[in-house]
């Protein structure tokens, strides 16, 4: 056990405080330079916006843009725990030194890591495509339940009803729980003997299930947890959308003799579209990239439960294949980007983002 006393408190406050202080000093120097260059030297009329944006631009450049460019560069090297830092070489340099391994210059030298993502196991045994299809399946299952149950609950809560506020508060609860706690608590509850899931199944006369060790069931467990976690967000967003639809539309439809389903199909769904499309894009990206749930529920490191991002984590930090992991990360990013562009094109979402 670590000691937790005044010494620890002053030391930690000192370190965090000095970091904040350094950031402030850095910002002040940056502002002075910007003011000098843009305000005094160039007499630019954009001096104020430049000074307002400067610190954020520098921060984003240093901590997001630079690491990404650096990672792109990394994806062409053989960096690993053995070849760390300066010892890492570009894959084509490795080729030049070992000409006997070259079959095709493009896939063995230039794009070696990218080719390896598709032709070698990304983990110990699991190959890319099974993991990819599992990720798609995982995303599809989750989004299906998030949307259908979320929309169902939102429709119910949008009706005239007593006690709506209480229901809403209770149903939102999973969203409020820190994901790490939720995932860890669920993992405990999937325990074979003492978890409530098997205990309840037992009371229904169903034999207990090996949630944490049987590959298929572990995947089901992951889905259950993430569906439970994700419904509130969808429900709240969709409820907001439903409440913005004017009641007159339904009255008019009722006068014209439209039944409930027709009203839903012709009024609710189209008018919900502007809210639903961004929520679906965001929800899909979040689910696709969800790390905590698959990582924690998969206590026994079953490769059959890994989705792309957890596989990426293991490739990088368990097997320490940094160059390979960088290429893997870009493959995942390109998949997501392609999906988003495709979806945005199809639905014409974000048209209103006139910026």
């Amino acid at each position: 056990m670590q000691s937790f006393d005044m010494g620890v408190i002053t030391r930690s406050l000192g370190e965090v405080g000095s970091t904040v202080f350094l950031i402030l000093v850095g910002t002040a120097i940056l502002e002075l330079i910007l003011y000098g260059v843009f305000g005094k030297l160039l007499k630019s009329r954009y001096t104020l916006p430049v000074m307002l944006l400067g610190p954020a631009i520098v921060g984003l450049a240093v901590l997001i843009v630079y690491p990404l460019l650096w990672e792109f560069n990394l994806s062409f090297t053989n960096m690993s725990l053995r070849n760390f830092g300066d010892k890492a070489q570009y894959t084509w340099v490795v080729c030049r030194e070992n000409p006997e391994i070259v079959n095709s210059w493009v896939t063995d030298c230039l794009l070696k890591n990218y080719a390896d993502v598709f032709r070698l196991p990304v983990l110990k045994q699991a190959f890319f495509f099974p993991v990819f299809f599992r990720t798609v399946l995982w995303t599809a299952i989750n989004m299906f339940f998030h949307l259908s149950v979320g929309l169902g609950l939102a429709l119910l809560l949008n009706r005239p009803l007593r006690g709506k506020g209480i229901y809403r508060t209770l149903i939102i609860l999973p969203w409020a729980i820190p994901q790490v706690i939720a995932a860890l608590a669920w993992r405990g509850e999937f325990n074979y003997e003492f978890g409530f899931v098997n205990l309840m199944l037992g009371q229904l006369g169903i034999p207990p299930i090996q949630w944490l060790t049987a590959p298929g069931w572990n995947f089901v467990a992951m889905c259950i947890v993430n569906i439970w976690l994700g419904i509130p967000f969808m429900m709240v967003i969709l409820l907001g959308g439903l409440q913005s639809i004017p009641g007159e539309y339904y009255e008019a439809a009722e006068i014209d003799g439209a039944n409930g389903f027709q009203q839903f199909k012709n009024i609710t769904l189209p008018l919900l579209q502007p809210v639903m499309t961004p929520a679906i894009i965001l929800g899909t990206i979040w689910t696709f990239n969800n790390f905590n749930v698959p990582f924690f529920i998969n206590q026994n490191e079953l490769e059959t439960s890994d989705i792309l991002v957890t596989a990426l984590f293991r490739a990088a930090f368990q097997y320490n294949r940094y160059g390979f992991a960088a290429a893997f990360a870009f493959v995942i990013f390109i998949i997501l980007l392609a999906y988003s562009i495709f979806y945005i094109r199809i639905t014409g979402a974000l048209k209103e983002v006139n910026a």
Binding site: L161, L170, P232, F291, F330
Partner: protein, 307 residues
Amino acid sequence: MSTTSSSQTSTQAVADKKPDSVLTRFFYAQRGDSPFKRLLIHLTLILASIIAVYPVLRVMTISLRPGDRLLSTSLAIIPEDASFDNYIKVLTDTDFLLWVWNSFIITAATSVIGVILASTSAYAFSRSRFPGRIAGLIFLLSTQMIPAAMLMVPLFILAVQANLIGTYRGLVLAYSVTSIPFSIWILKGYYDTIPYDLEQAAMLDGATQMGAFYRIILPLTTPALAIVFLFNFMAAWNDYLLARIFLSNATEIWTWPLGLQLLQGQFTTAWGQFAAASMLVMIPVVILFLYSSKYLISGLTAGGVKG
């Protein structure tokens, strides 16, 4: 409005325009659904509420179990011999307080920095038309597509080379920046709803644009600033991935997610302590979240829909 109610009440209901006013709610409840259907709706919602709440209640149940009965197959919500043993144990026998303290100072520092940086940048995006503005906004949006897992490889290696692994400094820097794009997006949407006339009037009276921003716009933006602060706070407070990568061996500066994983890992011995620690972390977060959820949603949609 209700077609069955008298014209007088319906005009009244239209007049005050609050969909949840007592009058409208009363008349709404009279309309439409048959009692049987209403019963079905209530049953569905009750079932949904139970499914949402039960797993959380179980954490409480386990946290209240006395040490020798941790592994029980009972499904009772309040154990018969409930005790606070686990809470006392987790506070005295583990590093829980240290973990929470570490999380707290890192999170507090980063949320303040994040909000300051985002609030000024968002103001520039909202009020001035500088070249590259649209490209900047699109860039901010596209950073949301980058998986967190993608940044961890380069951040880790760069942090190793900069000797930032196992320090508060590395995490503070990383957290401060990662939530800026989203914060700018939200705040810009909010600033856009504030008329420019307000600043112009102030500037006519001799204030500089920054003075007008500081004295007039910022106070009006308080709700959105609060939301953004809450968002940054939650993102850093609940983060596991970066903390794990940056602090893996430095147990003296572990944040609570790392500590809780350790406790849950020792399933048989420390499940009760894990549950107690979870309750202690969770309760303030949940209260804060439920309290602010109304503003949270309006703040989100204001930023998202307005663009």
